[in-house]
Symmetry: C2
Subunit: 143 residues, 2 copies
Amino acid sequence: MNIGEAARVSGVSAKMIRYYEQNGLIPPAERTASGYRDYSTNDVHMLRFIRRSRDLGFSVAEINELLGLWRDRSRQSADVKRIALARIRDLRRKIEEMEQMAATLEHLAACCSGDNRPDCPILADLENPDDVDEPKRPRGAIN
Amino acid sequence: MNIGEAARVSGVSAKMIRYYEQNGLIPPAERTASGYRDYSTNDVHMLRFIRRSRDLGFSVAEINELLGLWRDRSRQSADVKRIALARIRDLRRKIEEMEQMAATLEHLAACCSGDNRPDCPILADLENPDDVDEPKRPRGAIN
DNA sequence: GATAGAGCTTCCCACCGTTGGAAGGTCAAG
DNA sequence: CTTGACCTTCCAACGGTGGGAAGCTCTATC
């Protein structure tokens, strides 16, 4: 099937399929006589695997690793679990940092009257955080 | 003061200070006779403002808006609060998505024996999500 | 005053994942 | 045959940051 149809049924855009091929995440597709890429149902399986992994937030490097294990019939489930657990730790850490941000902002917003007067504790904090009463805040930005 | 010293006392790297200047986030710095950038304490205030805003996860575009309000003596606190609240909503949404990812992965990892046998429900799910018992999952990747 | 080393300048490149677009070839339906 | 949808490759951009090269300037030491 076409790259367009493969994209439709796999949920991975044609652009990204070419990108993944170029970066060695997936092997080069077969070509028709006219140079069109040609995909099998197995290829679509692989693309769905990638799509699902991206949905779960795995990086392309991690997906590469997962694909290797997927193809390896004799893989050990511990290897897969290790990657998944590392991803969970990463998620939990990022969530914690974002929670801190949200908590700080909520505290500031709660202190801000939000009316048409110019006084604003949010700006006051941004200007000089240590002057303002607030909870502990994280160091280092996230996104 | 030097860009290096401004970077040290503001917590914004010299690289980023130049980047912010180039992108119009901050006005072009004064220059010494030899062409070095020269920063006042007020500039440092502004850089700290930016640093703090980045720490709280505001985008450069949002910081631009916040800086405008910061400089505007007659701003209304409601304008600032609006941006902060939008940022909080954004954070909460992203946190929710990442929670979903983590929950799904934890469910899968809990089902995975993690030993030296090849059977792995994590890979099984990645290959064919709907076959596997699991909680609802988000659509669309985050990071 | 010479010299060394740190610090400044501008410029370009890389990352990651994704999208957009241009220029040109190919397919299928009318 | 024409038209429009699809494919191909290539190049660029996004945001925010870091790395590094080539060349100039400052400061401390000799």
